[in-house]
């Protein structure tokens, strides 16, 4: 197979990516932070840091803690607010040749609506990832993501306020992930992003207190990969939406596992911290895999491991 015959393009419910590899919200800043290490134009998509209507200072430290093959974080959605995002950070990415996905978070359903409306018509945004699963903020966040009725309603409201494709990011902190995914589909979601972090904690034995100032944080990294795979597999079986899959992807083989479990695209999160050019390396690795296995379109393997 020649390189020119390979088609890496991905259509994630209307979000077109030149290849399946996205970088996850909150792990890649606004792209510029990683420009010294990789060619941003080589990425499938950059999902920018979660944006709220007003600026947020985030949680007090300690915010992060390394655990076995993973890490906990409780950043608390620190961000400069939607106006600063649009005026100071988005222009950098617009100048690049890369798909940009905004990530929005609100305290109330009205805030989600206002954010979607604010992004409407903004040049350079290909889609909206809905953060309904942040475990680290007091209001909103996770509480939206664990109740199917609220998931449906928030997706519906956002859809009513935007013409962009909408992709809710699902929380794994639920009993039945399929029920949540179906609710998102009912609300009109164009794609699903999964999974967000698993809620966890660590305790400092010396001080006899929780390590994180927020007490609980979100677990990410290779430690959560089996959970992410299982949930993507289950959702792919029952729901007809394209999935952007992630959770502890550290190399090309991991990425292929996610695709075989049903992910159309994959997202790199914590792995960016370990290898700042990981997303690019995986994109190259997928091309090599296609060449070696005579695959001209990766869609051929999406969900191939799923027994229907």
């Amino acid at each position: 197979m020649e390189k020119q015959d390979m088609d890496l393009t991905v259509n994630l419910g209307g979000i077109i990516m030149k290849n399946p590899v996205a970088v996850a919200s909150g792990t890649f800043g606004y792209g510029r932070e990683y420009e010294d290490y990789l060619d941003i134009n080589g990425l499938g998509a950059v999902i920018v840091k979660g944006t709220t209507l007003e600026p947020r200072h985030g949680n007090p430290p300690v915010r992060i803690f390394e655990t076995a093959a993973g890490m906990l974080n409780a950043i608390g959605l620190e961000n400069p607010g939607v106006e600063v995002f649009l005026n100071q950070h988005l222009p950098y990415l617009i100048d690049k040749d890369v798909t940009v996905i905004a990530n929005i978070a609100g305290n109330t359903i009205e805030e989600y609506a206002a954010l979607a409306a604010r992004l409407e018509g903004c040049k350079g945004i290909a889609g909206i990832e809905l953060n309904i699963s942040c475990p680290n903020v007091k209001q909103g966040g996770l509480q939206f993501g664990t109740d199917p009725v609220m998931v449906r309603d928030v997706v519906k409201t956002v859809k009513a306020n935007t013409s962009l494709p909408v992709m809710p990011k699902l929380s794994p902190n639920v009993t039945n992930i399929v029920e949540i995914a179906l609710a998102a589909q009912e609300g009109g979601a164009d794609a699903l992003s999964m999974i967000n972090t698993l809620m966890g904690m660590a305790i400092n034995v010396q001080t006899r207190k929780p390590v994180l100032a927020n007490v609980f944080g979100g677990l990410s990294g290779p430690a959560i990969k089996p959970v992410a795979l299982r949930m993507i597999y289950q959702v792919h079986q029952e729901v007809d939406l394209p999935i952007l899959g992630g959770g502890g992807i550290m190399n090309t083989l991991d990425a292929l596992e996610f695709m075989m479990a049903g992910a159309t695209g994959i997202s790199i999160g914590t792995g960016n911290f370990v290898n700042p050019r990981l997303a690019y390396d995986i994109m190259v690795g997928l091309q090599e895999y296609m060449q070696e296995n005579q695959i001209n379109n990766l869609n051929e393997i999406v969900g191939i491991a799923v027994q229907k």
Binding site: Y37, F65, M71, E78, P222, N275
Partner: protein, 259 residues
Amino acid sequence: MPLQENGLVINHQQVAQDMYIMEFMAPAVARECQPGQFLHVRPGNTNDPLLRRPLSIYDADQEKGSISLLYRVVGAGTSLMTGIRENDYIDIVGPLGRGFTLPAPSKTALLVGGGVGIAPLVYLGRALIQRGCQVTAMMGAANENQLVAGDRLLEIGVPFLPVTMDGSRGYPGMVTDLLVPPVYPEEIVIYTCGPEPMMAKVAEYAQRYDIWGEVSLEEHMACGVGACLGCARRLKANDEAYVKVCKDGPVFNIMDVEF
């Protein structure tokens, strides 16, 4: 410009209990290293420990293309690092962060280091001497064996005053006990790195006598490049916003930090 490089380890030695100096060839990164900056070091190739470790640049030889790190074993990552041998490769990203500001050559620089905190002050001392500054180092440690950077400082041409808590070498007590009222405070600049109570005393001293100075802070980090916002710190208790030690620091003006 920071970059990722695989450094070829040419020397790795234990210099005290739990303290090691590793030197490796990384010419592209070495060329860029400024005093006070750090490298984000991957301790191994496995997923556990997972994250990189931020380590101060102890010394760099830009002509030779080598960088040295002085590190203390504090957990799983640094413990794994001790097994790295000569001719192994070490995966580094750097140099990262905002380093020290160099003063006018006419100034006298005071370096106050505690424990492994002496590390960034050594490379700073080299730059200050090259600049023509007068430099004196005050180096505190628990005991004689933990005073590890003395030879390197002498080689660079920085006289140092050793201080040990157990009195086994030099002045017995705390390194900050040596901070006496200056005759010409405007001629002095002060740089410090070490345990926070020590830096707090240095900051108090600088404030009292109105001495310009900088501190190098330490924080657990994930990305090291300002993306994850994990290494947040309020510089002053009443600040609303958090700085990121990796990107806004690790070096800060001594007057801007409340300990």
